[in-house]
Symmetry: C5
Subunit: 315 residues, 5 copies
């Protein structure tokens, strides 16, 4: 892929003149100068609590949180997304990573049948800027909105305000948008996913993470995704990785999402960190081969299988 | 129509001396020096999500958000109304448009039967002023109030405060007021629409967008509208365009709203953007011919049909 | 009546030294140097929406909001009470009026049976001070509390804070207090009205507007009112005018309220503005003849009937 | 009783160095240099509305709020506790009184069966400091917490923050703590009262007003009170006076509360102000004879009966 | 145990350069230079009210709050944790203690069956910094989160913000995390406890206090705890002491928690303060012998039984 230069980066108009250089730099760092995002999602210790990190089918290495940072350090990723506190506790030892601070999080203990989901903002932007001032390489923010929840309004308001403030400071913003709540009967319905993508644009996000649409009429998910990617306009759309599947299935889906669905990256967590360090590292490289270097599924599989390497210099 | 000059603009007393010039300039820009408002409503990607932009009967061009800005650029409009983020992502490439930042928005996923509507404010005024400082041509704000909702109080309070602050900075304010909620059985009842218009005045809005009243006794909607326009006092009343109908019907209604109903403009979204770029552009011109140049329905239809042109110089 | 001088005005201790002169001036202006308040209530376009301004039994002139200001200009009143936005839109053309900014308002769409009443504060005090700085003759604030509502706490807190802040800036405060909510079975019970008056005092209001008590035992309302007026202590008590009745009944009640009930004024809306401009103007004069000049019911009726005039010089 | 000097006053560590002198002065003033508190509770015009001030068995003088201040002026008390607004309206004429500003209040219209009690904070501390700056002799604050209410959290948070801020400014704080709400079946259960006392300590209050415990096993209330007084630690415990009873019963209870129950004062309202000015004044003197001068019940009764006098010089 | 030096302390990246020295000092003070925490929990006067301090099986000394401070002064502890007000009232006389200010607290009156638990923040951080400025030896903060409560979001947000602010000022933070609410059926389920530990890490806490896990399959609690300790990553995990048990059982559990379960300390309240001063003092020493000096259960029991002493010099 042709590398982007600073001149290629489209800067939103809510970034003031004196933050444009920072924004451009963060955009190039997060996308490894490709305009594509390889987001390593490390926020599930709150979202899914310990069941994603310990138990049957999960490598024992995942039990310790440092596993996440070791994968980030040894693999090839765009950004590591985690809560402010998690980043604060480890970043001193992993200074080279690009961090995306996940601003809100909830556990999965209260089910939607009991109460519609709301994910609270855990700190204000000041706390994130403090991290950056202290030397942590924070390139952006993340925030989750549950559209269709009875608390949609609060999350829309928090996200809207955060995006304006983050852009003012030159930080990127990735929205996680999941339709969820008593009012939502089919969370992955293509129209709904496309609608979610449009909402992200209207809020001014740089990227939006959605679940891959699941057409009920049997049509191809990647084609439904293409509609959503268009609806997102200038907001880049990436898909959530979902639960752990075999590498070939995962990489094929990813390739389709990008080349048929118009996605401009991926956001993957469990599929990576539930593996041993070595395997997880190889998977980040395989994913990045597709996302950041336009390699084929076969090439990526060879990377995953250790038959060839992939490093930042291959982007 | 005789063009207004700065001296003709009535400036509300909440605009301080050092913002009067800005207010007058914004008023003249937004109304194209006519005192009438042609508002192109581009906030539905949140309000109606993707169903207004993709599907049967909608031109495929509408699928991409840039369509909205292309219509604005090539057509004849007063202001383009959209959420802060949407404006921030495109305004650099469409600097000549007058922007009205829609401050609040909600999706239509949670129905009134589940919960009364509340549309959250997505950012504070600071974020809008930042856009303006960064060079975006923001002339005003928009805010939606659902009167009769159990959340009426929150929206009244947010709108009231925003209007005071916006006027302090020389920005115009357009309120969208829709009676809606479990307590409202007939949303378009003439008395209710007139009441909504009066509420907008009491809050100090410059314009109010209401649905055209629907008299149950079979009397003419435009006559019922005349009562509402009077109730609005010095707040200019404009009608929502509603779902897509054929151009003749639409233009005839608009002409009646202005010349019988006392409306001072229109606020139209779907009727415009669900068409191809060329057709949409012609419709904005036809609408503006009526709204901004007092042309007849026939003249406007000729513009829509491409038989004659209409441009800013015809106002 | 003997006119008050600045030295006669009792200034509450929450008015700081550098605002005392402003407070005294506002008090003398609002009461026309009598200590009595003739409040022309123009806040019903939100409270009662358009049904108070258009329909059977209402003069067609009332349909246009400017009617209110014309009455104020041509009649004899103490203050015109209206929402901030309403005042902002007309005050430039009616600079001589004393304005009381009604800080909160709600529509009557949601009934108490659905939800207990809460009337939201529409702007903060800053917005009112801005009006004053811009040259509007604002002499005070108004705020409505529904005692016994499940939202009583919010209104008590907003009112309490507003009064402290308003006095700090030399502005008067009038509270509207109406017992209302599922817990209130007899809104006009004498004990309850007296209690409401006492609450206004404890919050530090200068005047309190209550509904006239309605004794169930057939005793005279004005005598019950006398208890309430005592309970109000140093807070002046005035009665709401209620729905439109014939002038003689209205003026007799008012005279009793003041001379038997200890009221120190009146607060009247519908009874005035639902009439033609000429009749409305004459009624304000008749009311003021009683309230501000201690004239008899007969003299006031003569004023109402146009048999004699009453002007500010007669106070 | 031996009089306290400044050196005897234990100053909490949240009082900064530059407010210590003020705190000590306020403590000595409020306790009349005894360490004991005689609090005249004048906040019931909101709490109980007018039924405590007018009606059968209540002297007609109590109908006018100035009665409270006349009692304070002519009797012997430690502090007069009332809402900010009440104090602001009368303090200019009663400058010699020590005022305790009651920060929150609710009416009794909504019953606990309908909704658990919440008493809203009526102004922030700034408004109280403004009173002090304007020359009102404010020595401290009061705040009511209903423990066991579903709104306990809000009241705990408001009280906690107020105490920290008040101490920072050298003001005393008295908490009124009443267990009340659907979860509370026996509001005066000894364990609960003792728990309430401990809560006051943990919040850092200087004094706590509780209801006298009512043991179900027939044991003496004053002995149960002794446990509560110990649980209060360095927070002085005083008992609410309750409804009006005959003077001898009242004074005997008070003597027991102090000498058996370890109370360090009293907080009395209705028992005082529902009497004629003369009788009320004599009762404040009798109460103060016990509370502030360790006189016997017999001596206090003689004071009440007018057989001997008691004045500030007898403390 | 080898003593830690300043260079051994791992400082989170949210501590800015000019607060690092303070943070390191507080960490060394709180852990007595061991990296292990012996937390004496004195916040139950709110949490459990007076039933933990007076009644059958509780030494009468516990009735007076000063008992807690006497134990702290004469025993061996790391930090004394109590509410801000409690600390403010006693710290002047116990200046040598390390204080951890417990920021939130609720009573146990409202049961979970009535309403899910929320523990309100009682003051902001400013109030705590004020204490520190006034000379109180505050080394950190505590905050309780009830995961799985319907109010989880509020507590997560308050805790998240407090941790960022506390670290900015060089203060430590200990989270109390208890899964509780209608959604939680087994509060001590190992997976849940491990999840809670991970949440504390993501929020950036320095230590987390959890209940010891109770495996339903009969496996050893300390082994389940080891999983939780790993999930906590760089956040040190300590166990709540629970209700009073005999000393041998208690000390054996503690030893297992540390040496099998990977706990780095303990947090004990009732087990200590419900005893006489002498016995309580000996128990703090026995606990510290294990926690801070890696002594055996037998050695610790000898300390408890008074057969040998343990003092700060033995660490």
């Amino acid at each position: 892929m042709q590398k982007l230069t600073a001149a290629d980066v489209r800067v939103p108009m809510d970034v003031p003149a004196d933050s444009r250089e920072t924004y451009v730099s963060n955009y190039l760092k997060a996308t490894r100068e490709t305009g594509r995002l390889m987001l390593f999602a490390c926020d599930q210790k709150v979202e899914h609590m310990n069941k994603d990190f310990y138990g049957e089918g999960i490598d024992i290495a995942d039990c310790e949180p440092e596993h996440l940072f070791e994968i980030g350090k040894n693999g090839v990723i765009g950004v590591l997304a985690g809560q402010r506190g998690l980043v604060a506790q480890y970043a001193a030892d992993y200074p080279e990573l690009n961090y995306l601070v996940k601003m809100n999080s909830k556990t999965n203990l209260v089910k939607t049948s009991q109460e519609d989901p709301y994910s609270p903002q855990l700190t204000d932007l000041e706390a994130v800027l403090q991290l950056r001032e202290n030397g942590v390489n924070v390139v952006g923010l993340g925030y989750t909105i549950y559209l269709g929840s009875e608390y949609e309004a609060t999350m829309m308001a928090e996200a809207g305000q955060l995006i304006a403030q983050a852009h003012e400071c030159g930080l990127l913003v990735v929205l996680w948008i999941y339709p969820r709540g008593k009012a939502v009967t089919a969370e992955k319905e293509p129209d709904l996913i496309a609608g979610a993508a449009g909402v992200a644009l209207c809020l001014g996000a740089d990227f939006v993470k959605v679940n891959p649409p699941k057409p009920e009429d049997g049509s191809a998910p990647a084609e439904a995704l293409a509609i959503a990617a268009k609806a997102a306009g200038r907001t880049g759309l990436v898909c959530a990785g979902g639960g752990t599947v075999d590498a070939k299935t995962f990489l094929t889906q990813l390739h389709d999402q990008i080349h048929i669905g118009g996605a401009c990256g991926n956001a993957t967590g469990r599929n990576i960190h539930q593996r041993s360090l070595d395997e997880a590292v190889r998977l980040t490289k395989a994913i990045s081969a597709i996302t950041l270097a336009d390699q084929s599924v076969e090439e990526a599989l060879a990377v995953f299988n250790g038959e060839k390497d992939f490093s930042y210099s291959d982007i």
